[in-house]
Symmetry: C2
Subunit: 303 residues, 2 copies
């Protein structure tokens, strides 16, 4: 089952050096979950071939412009391109007011429905649970209310062992039960244990997205042991004071968070406009947590 994230924007507040404001496309089993939507996201989607028609869920972490100013344009384009199916939108309560103001003054009646699910920052909660995954919020510590999101794959069905199915002459109508873990009982009443007939699938994977936060331990429980952690790393650690003042994280701190949370891999992004090249940020994070990569626009990372 596909579970991978494509970076559409990696810049912090302002676009620069061909880096765009934050957005990511998480592809889970050919459904795309869009995470944040900075200005120019629809242009980046065209550039990196992310199909708007595959998106039924959009998650906005907070109401700073570099995380949502591309949303109205994207929703408008979907409308103009004939979208009919509803869009599920998750974000701070005031997000829907912003959207309504725009469509009110442009006299636009969308020809599809926006189903809005407001997020809150009192405590983490599960905001989505479908066939493929669950999504939980992470309460982050930013200048305005801000949540991250953890996407956890559902435990996949067992895989069938074709060779053994033939050996034990299992009829087709039993296949789905086997995938769910049932033993096979033949017409003669003979019981064949499930583990003889199936192959254990990969463990379900998890992806945590931490945008714009002061680094601290409060959200470690939510991201514990995830397979891939995206964490902002706006500054190098020589600007730790600036990071604290602006409620952001340094690359060193992102590495420490990854280590403490015992995650498998770390991806850093939300790079300040002061850094033309990003190697120093990468090296600083790696000095604490070796399995770190830079979030590079257009690159896809398998969770």
């Amino acid at each position: 089952m596909r579970f991978e994230v494509t970076i559409l924007g990696s810049s912090s507040a302002t676009p620069i050096y061909n880096r765009n404001p934050t957005s990511q496309a998480l592809n889970v089993n050919e459904r795309v979950y869009l995470i944040d939507c900075g200005e120019g996201t629809q242009q980046q989607m065209l550039r990196f071939d992310v199909k708007p028609g595959k998106i039924d869920h959009i998650f906005i972490s907070h109401l700073h412009g570099d995380h949502y100013l591309g949303l109205i344009g994207l929703l408008s384009s979907m409308h103009l391109n004939g979208r009919k199916k509803p869009m599920k939108l998750f974000g701070p309560p005031d997000l829907i007011k912003i959207i309504n103001v725009h469509f009110e003054y442009s006299w636009t009646n969308l020809n599809y429905e926006i189903e809005f699910y407001p997020t809150q920052t009192k405590r983490p909660e599960t905001i989505l649970d479908n066939n493929d995954l669950t999504v939980e919020t992470i309460i982050l510590n930013h200048r305005i209310p801000c949540t991250g999101f953890v996407f956890r794959q559902k435990k996949p069905l067992l895989k069938l062992d074709a060779h053994q199915l033939e050996n034990y002459q299992v009829p087709r109508n039993q296949f789905f039960k086997l995938k769910q873990g049932a033993d096979f009982i033949s017409e003669q009443g003979k019981i064949v244990s499930n583990d003889l007939l199936t192959i254990k699938p990969d463990d379900p994977k998890s992806y945590a997205y931490c945008s714009d936060t002061l680094a601290n331990d409060s959200y470690l429980p939510q991201i514990q042991k995830v397979d891939l952690l995206y964490h902002e790393a706006t500054f190098l650690n020589d600007l730790l004071i600036r990071a604290q003042e602006t409620h952001h994280t340094t690359a060193l701190q992102a590495g420490e968070i990854a280590q403490k949370a015992n995650v498998k891999k770390l991806l850093i992004g939300h790079f300040s406009a002061r850094y033309k090249t990003l190697d120093d940020l990468l090296n600083e994070a790696r000095s604490v947590f070796l399995n770190t990569d830079l979030a590079i626009e257009g690159k896809t990372y398998v969770v």
Copy 2:
């Protein structure tokens, strides 16, 4: 005196084929007047080296997203980059409400002032008159209230004829009076006619911007004889009915408008996403009005 327009966006409603939503940077004597500001305008400014610090005036024609959704991001970036000087903003009355909603929910106090000048669509009016130019609105015919803008250069000062100044031994402290048209009176009381000492400058130029409108004669008086007319040409004329339904103009009609208004040159833009290449639109407009060009992003057109 520099008077030229750089195209930042040439697409209609949706970005496509590397074409971005509408925006233009009009450089008049090294001050940049930004006209409309679709999503991604700040990225296009970076790409084509239009300096935000040179912009003190922004004009928004109407509240369809493809004409203003880049504005909040641009204003935010100016704030983050330390802008202190005020920004003069001209647009429909509700524009300021949209801006305020964004900055309210992102808890942003801009460190510079926005001076907002609401436009109206009852009748054309002069909305700006400074040393370099006047700006008048054009009442267009779109689905929602929409104005164009005419930028008219002030009559430039006369140029001095260095050779003649020496001949008549004109002292330096008389130069500015001569530029304004005064005759020179020597200490001996001898009068030297101004036209002997100065060279006639070029005639003042004018640029008219007509975004998003049904083509008709109502606004011809406002754009009569301008040096350069930008006019939307969303469709080819085989889609005339679609153009009328959506309150847009075809390339043929844009050519007819240019001809009737007796302008010197026509620039067409706001191309529909259905046209991958633009030659047919250009040829159609040229079939009526030969001196037509396409608005190509990154290209600069001298008025």
